[in-house]
């Protein structure tokens, strides 16, 4: 991946050189499809379309991009666009299929398995997030053109606010636990996390399930209002 520098690709794209398009595709197409499918669990057809949209956005906005710190700036910019596109797809899925699915919990041993209350709490957060998306969507549909722009902005912040509890609960963990949960949720390898946290890979693997359990307990304790909410039809 590092054979061609990002600066070369950016220069080629900015000067209209078509070679830049081929290099961009070779560098990112398979890689981002992988992320969309394996990390965010999107169907492969959706993932392919999403990655096309990401790379099209990169090409269309290339003139607004500038290096500030180093060659890696371009990669961070592409991943930011990718993140925003995945978020849009996830929000769309929340409106259509729903995000509460049959989660796999094979990694948890019996003594670490989630209790009914803990499942309710996590499901309730996802449900509130879905409802906020639906509300925001209907506010935009009903609004008039001038007002809808404002409604969309307000809707986005309301939707995001439904996840504040997650950020808040993470803050209550120890730093290394927080790093472990955040990084593993995005499939960052244990080797990398070990370097960031000064813990061994073996320790991190053992602790991961326990930290997850601890995180859910914190959510259940600090957000008791989320318990006992049966799913409402929306």
């Amino acid at each position: 991946m590092a054979a061609i520098s990002n600066r070369t690709i950016v220069q080629e794209l900015k000067s209209g050189d078509r070679l830049g398009c081929a290099r961009l595709v070779d560098m990112y197409q398979a890689r981002l499809i992988d992320e969309a499918v394996h990390v965010f669990h999107l169907p492969s057809e959706d993932a392919e379309e999403l990655v096309s949209d990401v790379l099209l956005a990169v090409v269309r906005k290339i003139n607004t991009f500038e290096f500030k710190r180093g060659d890696g700036d371009f990669h961070l910019w592409v991943i930011t666009i990718f993140r925003n596109k995945v978020r849009d797809v996830v929000r769309h899925r929340a409106l259509t299929d729903g995000l509460i699915e049959r989660f796999e919990e094979g990694g948890l041993r019996d003594d670490n398995a989630y209790s009914k209350v803990e499942r309710e709490v996590t499901d309730a957060i996802i449900r509130q997030y879905q409802e906020a998306i639906r509300d925001s969507e209907s506010a935009i549909t009903e609004g008039e053109s001038a007002e809808s722009a404002g409604a969309e902005g307000a809707g986005n912040s309301t939707v995001a606010a439904k996840l504040l509890a997650i950020a808040d609960a993470l803050e209550r963990l120890e730093t290394w636990e927080r790093v472990l949960l955040r990084c593993r949720a995005l499939d960052v390898p244990y080797d990398d996390i070990a370097r960031y946290t000064d813990k061994s890979v073996a320790q991190l693997k053992v602790y991961h399930a326990r930290v997850k359990k601890k995180f859910v307990k914190i959510l259940a304790e600090h957000y008791p209002e989320l318990q006992g909410n049966e799913e409402r039809t929306g």
């Binding site: 991009f65 500038e66 919990e105 990694g107 996802i126 995001a160 997650i166 593993r184 960052v188 997850k212």
Partner: protein, 203 residues
Amino acid sequence: MKNERVDKLIQLAWLEGWISTHGAYEKAIVKRNTKTLVLPNSRAALIERLESALAETKADTPLTVGALLRGLRTEHSLRSQEIFSRIGVTQNIYRMMEQDTVSPLKISLEVWKRLIALLNLSVDELAEMIRRTHQLVFFRPMLKGVLARYSSRKKKGMKTSILEKAYSEMYAKANLELPEAEQRRLNYLITTLKDETKGSTTS
């Protein structure tokens, strides 16, 4: 990777911008071995889409400073005063800038910096427009000379105004070699502009 409930919650918070991995995830993507096999026709189709998008982007990009200012004024229905007072030039200079009849070398660095800030332009983008504008302004007298010869021969069928527009566009698009001294002055302006705006503009 398993589709697990806590991972899902944390992913949602990351997607909505509540949390960050401080670059750890972005670095991990670079290092991963890809598992997806992209079919050659899928790769080729995407490259084709990107190439047409790139061509459209290029066609939409103003070539010269004048084209940029004219586009800005018409697109946002602004009066010229609203622009020249903000970038700090007189009305006459502004008009010459819009018509690409003044060399960018005669415009102060401060004006270019204000223009970058006002339009949220990238320095590279503006530098390219400055280069093309200077080229156009520099070579235009030669073009005028040629046109004057045709005019003096009273070739009425020759629409000089249309010709001038066409030649102007051609000069703006061409990559012509400027005389050494001119090129040095232009390089100096662009380098100084880039140095002075480093870190102060947004992408």
